[in-house]
């Protein structure tokens, strides 16, 4: 049963105010094409949950689509900070729940397994914890281990409405293969509904080798969008490198709200679909430059 749908249709399924997990990590495997289309469709009041803030989330915040951010901080690595996120938090234009990376990952893990919460030893003594405990509806609590009496931080399970995950390969049923580290797996499996964007669709019965590589199993996946280079300008290990030139341009635009508006106008509102954007950033020629080496995988 194929779950392949056009990008417009998959994005249209996301309701106003949804809680989304996004799959990127800094400048790696961000579901950029999906976020472009969300911005074009004018999604608003989203809550985004992501262990380490990434390119697509900065974009979404910059477009004014985000009401609340649940994350553990982040940057675009050396190319620069998450300007839009940092600015929105500083100016109070978005609500933010800041975690450490692992504590938020545990909330996803609990969600993925249907466990109500997880007890851990991180965050203790920090102002991060202090602020989380002071939230209106706290999703973190202090407690103690019933076996050892030790103090623990109890982290409530997080089950986003949707996880948007970009993968190099998926079959039409949604058996998704991810190469390299898989930081977003707990977030993906925590969500009620998983939507994949995939650079490549492969078909036919899975070989044992392929089954071994499947990271996200089809029964958990609702929709698959086929979008080659759908993570550009971020990288997909085994497929293509990040586009440093474009990320630098992005960071330089994102430094000011005015610059960001220009970026959005040019690269998102100014095109009708992601393929048009790919033409704009240099088309086939640029894409070929970014193709991963078969041994190095970048």
């Amino acid at each position: 049963m194929t779950k392949i749908v056009p990008m417009e249709e998959a994005v249209a399924a996301i309701p106003e105010g949804a809680l989304l997990a996004l799959g990127g990590f800094a400048i790696a495997r961000s579901p950029v094409a999906f976020v472009h289309e969300m911005i074009r469709q004018g999604k608003r009041n989203l809550t985004i949950a992501q262990c380490i803030g990434a390119f697509e989330t900065d974009l979404l915040v910059g477009a004014g689509a985000v009401k609340r951010l649940i994350y553990a901080g982040g940057t675009l690595d050396r190319p620069g900070p998450l300007h839009n996120i940092n600015r929105a938090i500083a100016q109070g234009t978005i609500e933010v729940s800041e975690y450490s990376g692992f504590s938020l990952a545990l909330r996803f893990l609990a969600g993925s397994l249907g466990l109500p919460y997880l007890p851990a030893y991180t965050l203790l003594g920090s102002e991060i914890l202090e602020r989380l405990l002071q939230e209106k509806n706290p999703e973190v609590a202090l407690g103690e281990c019933p076996f050892t009496g030790e103090r623990v931080v109890m982290l409530k399970a997080l089950q986003p409405d949707y996880a948007i995950i970009h993968v190099p390969r998926s079959d039409p049923q949604g058996n998704a293969i991810i190469y390299g580290p898989c930081w977003d797996l707990e977030a993906a499996l925590a969500a009620e509904t998983i939507i994949l964007t995939a650079d490549e669709i492969f078909s036919g019965e899975l070989t044992p080798q392929q089954a071994q590589e499947v990271a996200i199993p089809a029964p958990r996946v609702k929709m698959v969008v086929h979008q080659p280079y759908g993570a550009h300008p971020t990288s997909v290990y085994g497929k293509y490198d990040y586009d440093r030139r474009h990320i630098d341009e992005y960071v330089s635009c994102a430094t000011t709200p005015e610059g960001m508006k220009k970026y959005l106008d040019k690269y998102i509102y100014g095109v009708s679909c992601f393929d048009e954007y790919l033409e704009l950033i240099g088309g086939l020629r640029r894409i070929q430059e970014l193709a991963a080496d078969s041994l190095k995988k970048y």
Partner: protein
């Protein structure tokens, strides 16, 4: 014999970091000096060190400069890929990380780190990177090494936001908070190597870099340092310098 003009301050810092690492340790590494220091240790006295990137990568051996742990160049020749929980749970929260590297906007007299925000003079805040895995590493690694530029405003008596715990309010407060990791062991700056008094948890000057005076360190620190025996930071060896310049960072991205 190496003379003080023969190496850069960042080379000295990398060497000071490398010397804190032992063979067979599990080390959580990030971009820049932590990576360089760990690689130097691996190529000298600690060949079986295990490198863990919080993104879910174990024992990479990069051969090209990277821009961060999300750069696949940093994952080259990895031996194992896992999830975020795999890296941070199975190793760090499980208590198996010996050393983690940290940095930040501010470090205070108890080794607490701020990497989240600063309050602006005119009111309001400026927001920065936040924790990432930093809080987790500070909470859970057996010891942490802090690498910071030595500036008075970056060394305040109390951080303006406590992102990653050091010895908290000093004394036994870290242990009482329930933290399992050992806390900051060293702070390596461009002027000195600092440690902590075991009992009070206060920062202590251990060594000044060649050419730097104790007074200079004091002048660039925003709180009172404990000062007992202060040595001079041991300079790099010729082999270390050769490895840094020819093998580990030939483009001088991190050590210039």
């Amino acid at each position: 014999m190496i003379k003080s003009g023969d190496y850069t301050t960042r080379e000295l810092m990398a060497v000071a970091g490398a010397r804190e690492l032992q063979d067979n340790q599990n080390v959580v590494v990030g971009l820049g000096l932590p990576q360089v220091a760990t690689e130097l240790a691996r190529r000298t006295h600690a060949p079986h060190i295990n490198i863990i990137l919080e993104i879910g990568v174990v024992n990479p051996a990069p051969i090209e400069p990277t821009v961060g742990i999300a750069d696949p160049r940093f994952w080259y020749k990895s031996e194992y890929f896992t999830t975020f929980v795999g890296a941070m749970g199975q190793f760090l929260h499980r208590g198996l990380v010996d050393v983690g590297f940290l940095g930040g906007l501010e470090v205070d007299m108890y080794g607490n780190l701020n990497s989240t925000l600063v309050e602006l003079p005119g009111g309001g805040i400026r927001h920065f990177t936040g924790s990432g895995g930093g809080n987790d590493i500070a909470s859970l690694a057996k010891k942490t090494l802090v690498i910071m530029p030595h500036q008075k405003r970056k060394f305040p008596p109390k951080v303006s936001y406590l992102t990653s715990p050091g010895y908290l309010q000093g004394g036994s407060s870290r242990r009482e908070a329930g933290l399992k990791g050992g806390g900051p062991e060293k702070v390596i700056t461009d002027k000195a190597v600092l440690g902590f008094d075991k009992k009070s948890g206060r920062m202590k000057l251990l060594s000044v870099h060649p050419g730097v005076t104790i007074e200079e360190v004091i002048a660039h620190t925003g709180f009172e340092l404990l000062i007992e025996e202060v040595t001079t930071t041991a300079p790099p060896t010729e082999n270390e310098i050769r490895l840094l310049r020819e093998v580990i960072d030939p483009l001088r991205m991190y050590i210039k």
